[in-house]
Amino acid sequence: MSILLFLILSIIKSAVVIGVLLTAVAYSVWLERKVSARIQNRWGPTRVGPFGLLQPLADGAKFIFKEDLTQPHVYKPLYIAAPILAVVFAITSISVVPFGNSLSTPEINVGHWFTIPAIDTPFQITDLNIGLLVVLGITSMGVYGVALAGWASNNKYSLLGGLRASAQMISYEVSLGLSLIPVLIKSGSFSLRAIVESQAHLRWNVWSCPVWYLPFGTLAFFTYLISAYAETNRTPFDLPEAESELVAGYHTEYSSMKFAMFFMAEYANMVTVACLATLLFFGGWLGPVFGPPILQMVLPIFWFCLKVFFFMFLYVWVRWTLPRFRYDQLMAFSWKFLLPVAVANIVVTALYVALRS
């Protein structure tokens, strides 16, 4: 493949993936409002478009036209940089996530002088052999957006929110990373594509997913899920923005698009976490595939999106069902319960794999 073709393909893929991600982010806000309304026996957004489907657009327009307040007491460079950092790190990690098998088209002749060459490219921006570590690294950098927002706002509630966020994310990152190791022991690779392909021995048997396949795969999955909820600052772990104690936590002083950027970062992180859960524990794009070639290309993406959608729904469901932790409970839960469980699970899985081989 020539460099030019590679470059064009990469640009197109990045544009499509970011476009889809941002749309997914917008519509997960809509989903959240609808599901929460359903849970609380109300309607949710209904006025803008059918079922309120255009509500995200209306919200976006509202955010753009709101006054962008910058308080005189903030530390300006970091106050402005913080939301940008948050959203950049949140969006970057999607670049290594694979969505499906691969796109292959034959050579197409357009007229006499122009030929679109044959394309064979995976449904993924880039397949790194350290893909999973890249996601973890970017997630761990994501805490700066929140921490610096809290500090630069120069406001005690924001500062406490930022401090809580950094302490919480550092703590849960440990159990998050450790909970993934059983899957890595089984697959033997950091590449997300290779991890999914290692789950494909029985084409569309759900029982071959690591969740069921490993001795305590379900345990690893739940450890991952709980840590991931804490890592994305979602209820029941949304202490950094606990409105009953800290006004709005780290984004108290932010308005207009800057606030919207934190919002986008949170939902983009949720999407990334849902993608990882799908890829590592539920077989990614694997699922029943049939029909003509075009359908065989599209169906895996459909299965992937369906699984991600399920995890997004689970996020919303959990948020509107469970109450918030107390801060000391949060820390004790991470260090005294989740971490030992994750470590024990690694040992058991390693023994299992060593004895089986």
Binding site: L133, V143, A147, A167, E173
Partner: protein
């Protein structure tokens, strides 16, 4: 060619971040410059073909250790640093010293060292190779390092916890308000409430 350009680019960012770290007077700006240094170092590792090291550099240094730096700076609410007599002397002596050292190192590397350049990816950089090195050849140093870290943790606990006699005599003296608000409990004082 592209590798060389990228290598020089990230090298320049790394040096600029390091200089900025020294020039900035506020601790949080210095900490952020250090993060830039760490991140561009990881890009350099990546260009040298050590992709695992690059990822670990970001996860551990830029993502975990520097977050703790920033956390401590935020927790202590450290203000702008002031220049003391000692720091002025350090600047006057240090800047020429660094310049002389840099010239010496560059001169030695350019004219005296009889080494050839290392081709890209010639060094073991993948997770498998590093794991093999760590758990076969360097198993003892690796395990001893973990004991070293354990000792450091124990030292931190000993320093952080007050002697019991002092804590009993002056129960008000322990700084309870701030850690309690933030939710971070200092070691050894969690039992009382």
């Amino acid at each position: 060619m592209l590798h060389l350009i990228l290598f020089l680019f990230f090298g320049a960012i790394c040096v600029a971040g390091a200089v900025n770290l020294l020039v900035q007077s506020h601790p949080i700006n210095s900490a952020l410059s250090l993060i830039v240094v760490m991140a561009s170092l990881s890009a350099e590792y990546l260009l040298l073909g050590a992709e695992f090291l690059a990822a670990v550099q970001v996860i551990v240094y830029a993502g975990a250790i520097m977050v703790l730096f920033v956390l401590v700076i935020m927790l202590l609410n450290a203000g702008t640093e002031e220049h003391t007599k000692g720091s002025r002397i350090a600047i006057i002596l240090g800047v020429p010293g660094v310049a002389i050292g840099a010239v010496l190192v560059a001169w030695t590397l350019l004219f005296r060292a009889h080494t050839s350049s290392v081709p890209l990816g010639a060094l073991p950089g993948g997770p498998q190779q590093i794991a093999r090195l760590l758990f076969h050849q360097f198993l003892l140093p690796f395990e001893v390092t973990s004991v070293l870290i354990l000792i450091a943790i124990m030292g931190a606990v000993v320093l952080a916890s007050k002697p019991e006699a002092v804590a009993k005599r002056h129960p008000r003296e322990t700084p309870q308000e701030l850690p309690e608000l933030v939710g971070v409990r200092l070691a050894g004082q969690g039992k009382e409430h």
